[in-house]
Amino acid sequence: MGMSGGSAEGNDKSEGQSFSCKNKLTALVVDNGGVCRVIQTALLRSYGVETEAVETGEAEVELIASGATFNLIIIEMLLPVLNGPETARQIRTMGAQSMILGITAFFDERDQQEFLAAGADEFIEKPLSPEVVIPIIRELHN
């Protein structure tokens, strides 16, 4: 899962340590909420992750279908039309090997089960935080 090897130090602002990604990771944020999209993108970029963002599951599927690859994809649960789990299912069917993080405004166990069954690796409640991002970045580098 993911693409790069090599060591990584990190920009862990909450712990005050130095952290910079030597091998660039890439991420895609899929969220129909403007402020959520901006914040998640900014957080990932602050850790040196090259991040793009789209508003819909359909846009994500198109991007993957066009050949784009990402180490990490963060997908909102309740997207309009093509919801989060269905989006994850479709890109897994297309062969995407990204780490997929499902994210929700309100944690619900059924949503978690649905998302994981669709191919997500983890499922968390907003907000996306350094406590979540840093271990993921370390795992992707390993």
Binding site: N32, G33, G34, V35, C36, L78, K126
Partner: protein, 150 residues
Amino acid sequence: MERSPLLRQVAHQRQTLFDEGLLDEQFVRLEELQDRTNPNFVEEIVTTYYQDTSRLILNIEQELERRPLDFGRLDGYMYQFNGSSTSFGAKKVKAECSLFREYCRAGNGEGCMRTFQQLKREYATLKRKLEAYFQLARQARLTQTASPPG
């Protein structure tokens, strides 16, 4: 270097937003994302937050006028509202979002309407106080630029 009275006022006003429970630690994380390459990040987030949520408020208001109430749609709008408010750090607004959703799930229209009114009050209070805070912060920056130390 001793802080100017204006800077102390800015710091005090900022702290009040947390002490009054309007903002939580998520807002601090947003402030930590602001740097030289993105010096207006927090204000831009505030603008985006109010753009996103003002649209949702309008949608919810329209839904609350329909009969019978569509609790599914209301729940959906409030889900989005909560996601934005949580990511922004709007603590009291977030609490009202959760309460609203509970009333939706219970099919309690009166509860929804009452909670929505309270949500709008908290939302407006936060907006007013953030605007005042940023205005003061801008004033402080201008004063510092005009009177460099030395």
